[in-house]
């Protein structure tokens, strides 16, 4: 009648050994349905190392993805592996994972220190080790000075940092942060972003979800885009944009004499069209964004016109999604 002890074997046993060639996270054609709603649709992913941003609109399946990883819900089909282990009904991989849930609720009556000590001990630390560990992680998120205050008195940003700190005990190899920036003021946002970048730089695998592309791009370039439960794109955000280059694009230039400039720009072979929508603005249409950009600086300088602004309108998640879904979103 005792709990399954095999789940708590020593670190040295095979099960706990990091298998070198196994990605930290593997999703193999995972689907998850809630009643009639299909939250995840045949998602396949493999992630190890570095900071990865999980991008998607509300309800795109980001939280479901994390819940599946953390064994909170059972996949309707497909297989999930965390360090090569199926996390459903098996807490073994969590000793190497730090999870920061999206929920705002915390144990307000505890001090930050107690909170972290208590939950570190669930990793099997003694009280003493846990206290040392708590001091370390709280210092890392720079809350050392207030660590003996009750969490209830903390502001949103501080609470968020306590949550991150609690996920860092036991030196996890994988850190999952669900919407860590939501509701934080710029001060807290900057601090949290720095913490995340730091973790990535320390060689951890970090997963961060967000629905704001700019935010994620300030942290990492490695992104996964989810939309309506499917992986629309994954890779370097840079590279994703490059892929998008093959599609009709617009470049808007602000310049003292657009019509003059247009005469030079038209010489770039890839430009398919131009328009003068507003006063002092030149809109270039192209199917090969990269090519055009490559030649643009030279062309401008040669034309002798003064360009004060270059812009690609629609460069946020929304427009990327628009492209990826063929404008249907």
């Amino acid at each position: 009648m005792m709990p399954d002890m095999t789940q708590h074997g020593k670190a040295e046993t095979e099960q706990w050994n990091p298998q070198q060639n196994v990605p930290v996270i593997m999703f193999d054609r995972v689907s998850k349905t809630y009643g009639r709603i299909n939250a995840l649709n045949s998602v396949s992913l493999g992630i190890s190392g570095g900071v990865t941003g999980i991008l998607g609109m509300n309800g795109a399946g980001k939280s479901t993805l994390f819940k599946l990883m953390m064994g909170k819900v059972k996949p309707s089909s497909g297989a999930i592996r965390l360090f090569g282990i199926d996390p459903w009904k098996n807490p073994a991989p969590y000793s190497r994972v730090g999870f920061v849930p999206e929920h705002e609720k915390m144990y307000d009556w505890m001090t930050a220190f107690d909170f972290i000590v208590t939950f570190s001990r669930l990793h099997g630390l003694t009280r003493k080790e846990a206290e040392k560990e708590a001091t370390r992680v709280l210092t890392f998120v720079s809350l050392a000075d207030v660590m003996h205050k009750r969490i209830g008195q903390f502001s949103k940003g501080m609470r968020q940092r306590v949550k991150i700190a609690h996920a860092l005990v036991n030196d996890p190899e994988l850190i999952i942060l669900d919407e860590p920036l939501q509701g934080c003021d710029p001060l807290a946002r900057t601090t949290i972003m720095n913490v995340i970048k730091e973790l990535g730089a320390m060689g951890r695998t970090v997963l961060v979800s967000s629905h704001i592309l700019n935010e994620i791009e300030r942290i990492t370039e490695q992104i996964v885009i989810l939309h309506q439960g499917r992986v629309l794109a994954l890779g370097n955000s840079h590279a994703i944009r490059e892929m998008l280059d093959q599609h009709p694009h617009k470049i808007s230039l602000e310049c003292d004499d657009p019509r003059e400039l247009a005469k030079s720009v038209i010489k770039i072979g890839e430009v398919t069209g131009m328009s003068f929508a507003e006063e002092g603005k030149l809109l270039i249409e192209t199917n090969h964004l990269g090519e055009v950009h490559k030649q643009l600086p030279k062309t401008i300088i040669e034309s002798g016109r003064k360009v004060t602004s270059i812009d690609n309108p629609n460069d946020d998640l929304q427009s990327i999604l628009m492209y990826l879904t063929g404008g249907s979103s």
């Binding site: 609109m57 509300n58 309800g59 370390r136 210092t139 890392f140 998120v141 720079s142 050392a144 502001s155 949103k156 940003g157 501080m158 919407e179 939501q182 509701g183 934080c184 003021d185 710029p186 001060l187 807290a188 900057t190 601090t191 720095n194 913490v195 970048k197 730091e198 320390m202 629905h211 704001i212 592309l213 791009e217 300030r218 370039e221 840079h238 602000e254 990269g290 950009h293 490559k294 643009l296 600086p297 030279k298 401008i300 300088i301 003064k306 360009v307 004060t308 602004s309 270059i310 812009d311 690609n312 460069d315 946020d316 998640l317 929304q318």
Partner: protein, 319 residues
């Protein structure tokens, strides 16, 4: 010209025991859209509660739409629409009745409230979903429903606490648009508390910045932004080389990944940048004058007030 003030306060102070939540605030808010900013816990919520006439002032005076917050709370609340930060909807009710009920609570007749609820929901873009239970709504739809609740009696002033919190790009866009239309076409005033500086910048002309219960700054956003001009470029490929080249040309460069900010040195700045790009062969995907965003402004003001912004170095020291 006499200022058209909707909210004014003189030495408004609120203390909870020894803790001073609002410290002699002298605030003047004009008609139009105003952003209420401040770090978490700066006293924004307390301030909003004060102008709703919900809590007793310790000292000082306040007037909202000409009504005294001390004595005319009911009149104030009848004339403003409040959109709370958290969920304030019964998840098991459908949107239309929720909005209708909120109208009835102001004192509208049921029939009028129902008709007006339809209008309000149409306005916030919940035309087809109005008979659905709020439980099945996304965050954006919930926010829109809350806005509809606040708008049902066509208030002169709408107080929106974090209207775009947790919304994705599309929903946020819509929410901000709606607020903008409300201000510009509806000629209503909006007081909006938010963390997202972009949102405030888009909707509002004025800001009030609170910090630790004190007024840190207030006024037109334009006036407050007086930070050195920079040009921001997004480059594609060879960013490091580009940086070096620019520095060689004697320009001040700050780089964050593919984004660089270059100190404005006069009319030839753009030319120099493009020349450098042409030399290096990098793509300049974007180039524009970088106006100090509200976020920068916020950080600058906070820094002056003594709040440290943690840098990477500080964090490294902890390990």
């Amino acid at each position: 010209m006499v200022k058209d003030l909707i909210i004014e306060s003189t030495d408004l102070t609120k203390a909870y025991g020894p803790h001073i939540a609002l410290d002699s605030l002298n605030i003047e808010i004009e008609k139009g859209a105003t952003g209420l900013l401040g770090p978490n816990g700066a006293g924004k919520s307390t301030f909003l509660k004060t102008i709703l006439g919900l809590i007793q002032l310790t000292s000082g005076e306040g007037k909202v739409l000409g009504y005294d917050v001390r004595t005319q709370g009911n009149l104030i609340r009848q004339n403003i629409g409040y959109m709370p930060e958290y969920d304030a909807l019964n998840p098991n009710m459908d949107a239309i009745h929720q909005v209708k009920y909120s109208g009835e609570l102001i004192g509208m007749n049921p029939a009028v409230a129902l008709q007006r609820a339809h209008q309000a929901l149409d306005y916030v873009g919940l035309g087809e979903q109005r008979y659905r239970e709020v439980e099945s709504f996304s965050t954006g739809m919930k926010q829109a429903t809350k806005l509809a609740c606040a708008l049902i009696h066509d208030p002169k002033l709408i107080i929106a606490d974090e209207p775009s919190n947790g919304l994705d790009a599309k929903a946020r866009e819509f929410m901000l648009n709606t607020l903008e239309i409300t201000v510009n076409e509806g000629q209503r005033s909006v007081l909006m508390a938010s963390h997202l500086m972009d949102d405030v910048e888009r909707v509002c002309e004025n800001i009030v910045l609170l910090h630790k219960g004190k007024l840190a700054a207030q006024g037109k956003i334009e006036d407050l932004k007086a930070i050195d001009k920079e040009v921001e470029i997004h480059v594609w490929g060879s960013a490091g080389k580009m940086e070096e080249t620019l520095k060689d040309r004697g320009m001040k460069v700050r780089r964050e990944g593919r984004v660089m900010r270059i100190g404005h040195t006069g009319e030839d700045t753009y030319g120099n940048i493009l020349q450098a790009a042409a030399d290096v062969g990098t793509q300049v995907r974007r180039m524009h004058d970088h106006e100090a965003t509200l976020e920068d402004l916020f950080l600058v003001i906070m820094e002056r007030l003594g709040q440290d912004v943690k840098s990477t170095d500080d964090l490294l020291g902890g390990i």
